[in-house]
Amino acid sequence: MLSTRRLRRLRFTPFAIAAALCCAGSALGAQGAVSIQGFGYPGGELSTRALGMGGSIADFDANSPINPAALLVGTRATVYLQYDPEFRWVTGSGLNTSTITARFPLFVVSGKVGSNARVSLSYSSFLDRTWTNTYQDTQTVGGLRIPSNVTALSDGGIADIRGAVSWTFSPKLTIGAGLHVFPGENRVVFGRAFPNDTTSFGAFSQTNTFNFSGSAVSFGVIATPLTHLNIAASARLGFSMHVHQGDSTTLGDAKIPNRVSLSAAYDGIGGTILSARYGNEQWSSMRGLGSPGLSIFDANEFSAGLETAGPKLNSIPMAVRLGFRDRTLPFGFGTQQVRETEVNAGLGVPLSQGRAALDLTLAHALRSAGNSGYSETGWIFSLGIAIKPY
């Protein structure tokens, strides 16, 4: 099975340009945050362009592996790469901490087959459970309360690898289907040291490695029932998923969450697209994968956005994007579900006479966990590079 660790290496390889900009390549994230509870943070599998519009265009976006029918939009062979660092601040109850996390969440290759069919192969981050924590607390050993330094680390997550095909029946109707596999690996390390008395108390560290597997199919349609009004719908039907320890012991069985979304886009204003999207994802079907106390919720998402022609670069207009997204996250803090509200803005910069495109998005996310008293602010900078050689 293709492990997530291997995927993480693979995903870095095509990102050589972006990686070369980095001075430290580790992709570790951080917990101790509101958004990365449970099995991790769902980025939403949005391309930079879709993120710039709050995700509202995701069902129409060829580079977002959401709706397989959206491949119609990609009329040329495309290689798409994405880099999403996030600056995060967590506050509440006297807590004020910040982290910076880098993600490479999306890689897509798509192309045209014949005149009506298009195919795509994508890798995306389904759930990212990568974080590191070091902190001090007290451990009771043999009835004694001993100061200790804790190191907790989680590395990995679950990926979504999709092979998809779309078929265009007419300019007003395209359908698509996708086959998904969800490999994953999550290495969890927990250690504790007793720096005040190393002769009496021994530090310990244990590592567990989990492997995930699962599959799903997805379907989608894009239709234009009225001039300038486009409707898209997509659904993912999840099959079984499992978590193993090592390669043998099965720790849990569950289902890949079903997902549905419905979107509308209006392009009746010259050079402008207005879009809105509603989505629902049945994350609770993953409950069997975790412990009985796993705080997991189904999640809803609503987003709206616009994309309009902006200033021209070498006679080709750039795209200016604005978006809004309001959603709930699947993994809560205690009994509290986490809510995320995003305000997004972005640019689409055509390069090389349209043979390449650079998408930039800045997303401001506010996350809160009910009345827990904790909230989180995230600034996500998303950079997508699409290369369209022919």
Partner: protein, 425 residues
């Protein structure tokens, strides 16, 4: 317009590049925002923890003591020292003359180095020297040598007040005795004992600790001839294979009397001659082999020795037995041990008169035992309790052993983290 565009793009790219310098640690939010980040530490008491134990005597081997204990504790303990001068100078060479056999000896004395730490020195302490040489080589046996500490063999001594006791003491030796030895056998073996107005014990330097005694005398009436100095040397037993024994007999300690009570159901550590307790452990494999030991404390219950002062203290080391299972002689195995501090960094500082529970931390050792299972011949899970130093202090400790009642026998408190599946949210 393009300039503005480039500025915007540059700012966004800079933000992206800035994120490459990740700051990953979200620990400041923990433990409040880090639910389930813990591994349960289990505590257990293993009693009995010993498969068996044994006490062996005679450590270290004769002559290996760093110092020589001179002790006289009334009816309970008396130890003495023997120093061999198996080659002494029998001639002098006056200036501008040839060597001449010694026919006159004067100003003879024995210089000994004293260690007054942990000593019991009465108001008046007497150092007595005896001629313990004999025509029969019986020095390795204590009784014949002890028998030579008789008044008719006394060849020197000094009584000195505690307040004036120096660290380097010159004990006068009979000139005629030295001359006799020079003219007859050409060697001298000196027995040293102390006595005084009360219990007395003090340590004397030895050649092992580079503080051996020195025998000095003048061999000529000519005052220009320098005094002769002789260092300890042993020539017996002869033979290449006996070199170690021979060196050990250069200066050594012998026990003339040890009437300290030996209790049943106990193990003894220290004393004279030195005793070691060999402890073979029996710890469930699911703890040693399948868990991470966080803390392991060997609990010993001390039985008081009804002699001495409560202020007297001795150090006890727990040292790991390295002898593999093929060494079935446990006394020999008790001598094949690790250096102090290896895997058991803890030690005991106790008073022999004290009682109650004493503890030794040994989690590192239990962790090491786990890794030793991979060896072809893993050593037994055993440690040796020994006094540090051995046979140079008149202190002995007694602990209840594995045949003692449940509440008194050795036990081990262990805190461990079992190997479990964790990390599933």
């Amino acid at each position: 317009m393009n300039r503005r565009l480039f500025a915007v793009v540059a700012v966004l790219l800079a933000a992206g590049v800035g994120a490459c310098a990740e700051s990953l640690d979200g620990g400041a939010g923990c433990p409040r925002l880090c639910p389930s980040q813990t591994l349960t530490v289990l505590d257990t008491v293993i009693n009995p923890v010993l498969q068996f134990d044994s006490t062996f005597s005679g450590f270290p081997v004769i002559g290996d003591e760093q110092e020589i204990l001179l002790a006289t504790r009334g009816d309970t303990l008396e130890t003495r020292g023997v120093i061999r001068f198996d080659t002494i100078q029998t001639s002098v060479t006056p200036a501008n003359d040839t060597a001449q056999n010694i026919t006159h000896v004067d100003s003879a004395f024995l210089t000994i180095v004293l260690d007054t730490a942990h000593a019991r020195i009465p108001n008046q302490i007497r150092f007595e020297l005896y001629d313990v040489d004999d025509s029969v080589e019986t020095d390795t046996l204590s009784p014949p040598v002890n028998a030579r500490f008789s008044p008719n063999r006394r060849i020197g001594g000094i009584t000195i007040a505690r307040a004036f006791l120096p660290e380097t003491l010159k004990v006068p030796v009979s000139d005629s005795a030295i001359l006799s030895k020079i003219t007859t056998r050409g060697r001298l073996r000196v027995g040293v004992r102390v006595d005084g107005s009360g219990p007395a014990w003090i340590r004397m330097g030895s050649t092992v600790g580079s503080a051996g005694a020195v025998l000095t005398y003048r061999g000529s009436l000519d005052s220009t001839v320098a005094p002769l100095t002789n260092s300890p040397l042993s020539n017996f037993p002869v033979g290449t294979l006996e070199e170690g024994v021979r060196q050990g007999l250069t200066n050594y300690s012998i026990v003339a009397k040890n009437a300290l009570p030996q209790f049943s159901n106990t193990m003894q550590v220290g004393g004279n001659p030195g005793r070691r307790a060999y402890l073979r452990f029996n710890i469930p494999s699911h703890i040693v082999d399948s868990s991470t030991i966080v803390r392991a404390t060997l609990v010993l219950t001390q039985r008081p020795i009804p002699y001495g002062d409560l202020r007297d203290t001795m150090t006890i080391q727990a040292q790991v037995v390295l002898a593999n299972p093929q060494v079935t002689d446990l006394r020999r195995a008790a001598d094949i041990i690790s250096s102090p501090g290896l895997d058991v960094s803890d030690s005991l500082l106790i008073s022999p008169r004290d009682s109650g529970q004493k503890t030794i931390n040994m989690f590192l050792l239990l962790r090491a035992w786990r890794t030793q299972d991979a060896l072809l011949y893993p050593p037994p899970r055993a440690v040796v309790l020994r006094a540090s130093p051995e046979n140079v202090l008149p202190f002995e400790a007694s602990f209840f052993n594995s045949t003692s009642p449940v509440g008194l026998r050795p036990m081990m408190k262990i805190s461990y983290v079992p190997t479990i599946t964790f990390g599933v949210p």
